[in-house]
């Protein structure tokens, strides 16, 4: 055995041992790779957005295993803590619309009194863009129909939007009656469906936190399918109240692979809670 061999063997032994220690201490990482399916297209060449998109691919705050159990285990197995912790975590999102300074106090007051001020807690529609991405899309060459159900905590019910993609222009804003969903016109930019919406009322919020808006709000949603994944993002322009446009957090949805899967039904909304609230705890 030569001295060089000794050095090599000692070095190899050291590297192996060091690697072993590092591997033992390193966090386990999933080695699974997401298979990327090809994006199906309709006869007009546009991506096929048809389907039920209820895969919920990226909710950072919910574990994929039993969320109720893990939530209740979080602090003292208490339901109060479950609500309090959930509210705090939801509100930790640092992506906030940048309001003009004259509205900062208003936002805080609306937020503090969110239990009574938030329209979606009183069975009102969430409106665009708070209603988020559609749960189901029905696509034709000239029109797309978006179908929604409300989450259990917000009982705004089943909702729909019919979005023309026939090249028409918006109705002049002054001729529109402000509504929760506004007037949406779609167009294709490459493989991305762009939905441009104006003509809102000023009743809905953009999100929890008192994020109100004016009737001059303009929302641009972008939907892009890649394989069996649909990415939705929305940008809010409201120069009356915002210092700059606000891009909401991107949402990524998975196509439901079950061809027989049905659109579930929203629970009917009957407001019974507000009169029983004794604190301003967020929910």
């Amino acid at each position: 055995m030569t001295r060089t061999d000794d050095r090599r063997r000692a070095f190899a032994w050291f590297i192996s041992a060091a690697l072993g220690v590092v591997l033992l201490l390193a966090p386990l990482r999933s080695m699974a790779q997401q298979a990327t399916a090809s994006t199906p297209r309709l006869s007009d060449g546009h991506p096929d957005l048809n389907g039920l998109w209820n895969g919920n691919a990226n909710n950072p705050f919910i574990k994929s295993d039993d969320p109720l159990t893990s939530n209740l285990a979080s602090r003292g197995a208490s339901l109060l803590n479950f609500e309090r912790d959930g509210a705090l975590v939801r509100r930790a999102d640092q992506n906030k619309p940048m309001y003009k300074p004259e509205y900062w106090e208003k936002i805080q007051k609306l937020d503090q009194n969110g239990n009574t001020e938030d329209p979606s807690y009183g069975c009102m529609p969430a409106g665009v863009p708070r209603m988020g991405p559609p749960l189901k899309i029905v696509q034709t060459p000239k029109e797309l129909v978006f179908l929604y159900i409300s989450p259990p905590a917000q009982g705004w019910g089943d909702q729909y939007r019919a979005i023309p993609v026939d090249g028409r222009a918006h109705t002049p804003l002054q001729d529109l009656d402000g509504t929760w969903k506004g007037e949406s016109i779609g167009r294709w930019e490459g493989d991305t469906l762009v939905v441009d919406t104006i003509g809102f009322n000023d009743t809905s919020w953009l999100d929890i936190g008192g994020y109100f808006h004016s009737e001059n709000m303009h929302v641009v949603e972008r939907l892009h399918r890649e394989g069996d994944t649909l990415t939705w993002e929305a940008t809010v322009e409201d120069p009356d109240v915002l210092l700059k446009p606000w891009t909401m957090n991107r949402r990524v949805l998975r196509l439901n692979p079950d061809p027989k899967a049905e659109l579930p039904e929203s629970l009917p909304c009957v407001e019974r809670d507000l009169s029983h609230l004794v604190t301003k705890d967020h929910h």
Partner: protein, 514 residues
């Protein structure tokens, strides 16, 4: 063969030692992280199934006192106090902070720099990432008629404030848990760790109490007068102070000391830890301002034969030429400023050393360049009350930012002036007098040049810009007038350390004695 085996054994031993060090280091880091996480849990920061830190924004309201650091009346006394109402907004992920304070006069003595206030004074200090600025109202710069003033020099101080708040210090510690060290001091747990980014070089010592709450945070920074100075913040009586309960705990009492005396004593009355809506948009004027403040230029004005006035910053200096030397009145603001002034003196009066550096008083904005003057070889001529103080504080280490005096190894020579001192070579004369009756700084000096009939004073009279509407005279202005009368000084011109040159008639008009 034996030699080869021995060599291999040495390699194996070395490798084992390295592995042991690596394992110990990992265990050490895990120990620090566990300690920090336990403290975060104790303060209510950790929430949800994934045990994430759920605190991003926070608002704090309170009342108490803040203190003018470096502006004590007695040189070795406490910093002067102001009553305050306090509202701070924190955003840890940005990171950003807005501290909105309204100061008013204290109930106690009105002595020291900054006192008394003519009216309550609102100060809004903001930091966001790499920008620091002051606002006239929250959101200034985006509201017509409001003013946002860049304050790049304050960036690190403000970031340090944010990262030494109870929740901020834990977040900062967690980020560098691998470099944190945990030890015990009695029943308390101490975590020591370095800050990063623009605060690199600052080490934080965080003390946790038996409940794992942050009890004390200590940092060291450089001060041109005090050298390495400790800022110590004590947090006590933790509670959920939210109108909407969150179970996030915040101290009801905050006491911060710098240089051994309080700079903030706050009773916290309300906290919104529920991630409230707080935002910190950066105004365009702040974005476009230079990140590093431009070096202060020195403008030289000859105001009489052999008498030069050095302006161009907030604090001015005066040089008087004698036959073989120069006397410089005031080495102010900072070492950098004073070195620039010294260069300007050498340019205006070449070939003569600065033998005397006259210091009007001990306030840090007027004494922060004295060590640079001492390093230049000048004898420091200071109020008698300040001599012992300078001897004490200048002996303190300057390891964080070794200045010219620390590098020179020179022992400064300080000469005390009690009531009067005359510097003269027969042709040129400076008379120094103790300003009696002032509440600004004990024993402070004024300088009088009898030949030129020029009076040099600091802080007690700052002439308003030309054309400014007249303001009522302050007590200090009236006291200066009384001193001029008492000393029977035949003053023609006032050469202030702040403001602009004025005649004695201007001064008499300002104090209503014309």
């Amino acid at each position: 063969m034996g030699k080869e085996t021995s060599h291999m054994n040495r390699i194996r031993t070395g490798a084992l030692m390295m592995l042991a060090t690596l394992a110990a280091s990992c265990a050490h880091a895990q120990d620090a992280l566990a300690t920090i996480k336990a403290a975060e849990y104790a303060l209510g920061m950790i929430r949800g199934p994934q045990r994430i830190d759920a605190i991003n924004t926070m608002e704090v309201w309170g009342a108490g006192a803040n203190y003018n650091f470096g502006q004590a009346y007695h040189p070795d006394g406490p910093w002067p106090a102001f009553k305050i109402t306090y509202h701070a907004s924190y955003s840890y992920r940005t990171p950003a902070m807005r501290v909105d304070i309204t100061r008013s006069n204290p109930d106690g003595p009105l002595q020291g720099g900054g006192l008394p206030l003519a009216a309550p004074q609102r100060q809004i200090q903001v930091v966001n990432g790499q920008y620091a600025w002051n606002e006239s109202v929250p959101g200034a710069g985006f509201i017509p008629g409001s003013t946002a003033t860049p304050a790049p020099a304050a960036l690190n101080d403000r970031l340090l404030q944010l990262w030494t708040t109870p929740h901020g210090v834990l977040k900062a510690a967690e980020r560098v848990a691998n470099d944190a060290k945990v030890s015990k001091e009695g029943a308390a747990t101490v975590v020591t760790f370095p800050l990063t980014g623009s605060l690199a070089g600052v080490t934080v010592k965080m003390t946790l109490n038996a409940k794992n709450q942050v009890e004390k945070v200590e940092t060291k920074s450089d001060n041109p007068v005090l050298g390495d100075v400790v800022t110590e913040t004590t947090y006590s009586d933790y509670k959920d102070l939210g109108e909407i309960p969150t179970d996030v705990l915040f101290p009801s009492h905050i006491l911060q000391k710098q240089g051994g005396f309080p700079v903030l004593d706050l009773t916290v009355t309300k906290v919104d830890a529920n991630n409230p809506y707080v935002v910190f948009p950066v105004p365009e004027v702040v974005e476009q301002a230079p990140r590093t403040p431009p070096p202060g230029k020195v403008e030289t004005t000859k105001i009489a034969d052999g008498v030069y006035y050095f302006t161009g910053g907030t604090h001015h200096s005066v040089a008087v030429e004698f036959g073989k030397y120069v006397a410089l009145i005031e080495c102010p603001f900072s070492e950098e400023r004073t070195l620039a002034v010294i260069a300007a003196v050498k340019s205006a009066i070449p070939g003569k050393p600065i033998r005397f550096a006259i210091n009007t008083h001990h306030h840090f904005d007027h004494s922060s360049g004295l060590r640079a003057c001492a390093a230049e070889g000048a004898t420091i001529v200071a109020p008698s009350a300040d001599k012992a103080y300078y001897e004490k504080v200048w002996a303190q280490p300057h390891t964080i930012h070794p200045d010219a005096l620390a590098k020179s190894g020179k022992k400064p020579v300080i000469e005390a002036v009690d009531e009067k001192r005359v510097i003269s070579d027969g042709k040129q004369t400076i008379e120094l007098y103790r300003l009696q009756g002032t509440d600004h700084a004990e024993g402070m000096l004024i300088a009088y040049l009898p030949k030129e009939k020029v009076l040099v004073e600091a802080d007690v009279y700052t002439p308003a810009p030309a054309g400014a509407p007249p303001a009522p005279p302050t007590k200090e202005m009236l006291n200066l007038y009384d001193n001029i009368q008492r000393l029977k000084l035949d003053v023609k011109q006032i050469t202030p350390i702040h403001g602009r040159l004025v005649t004695i008639d201007d001064f008499k008009k300002a104090v209503g004695k014309n």
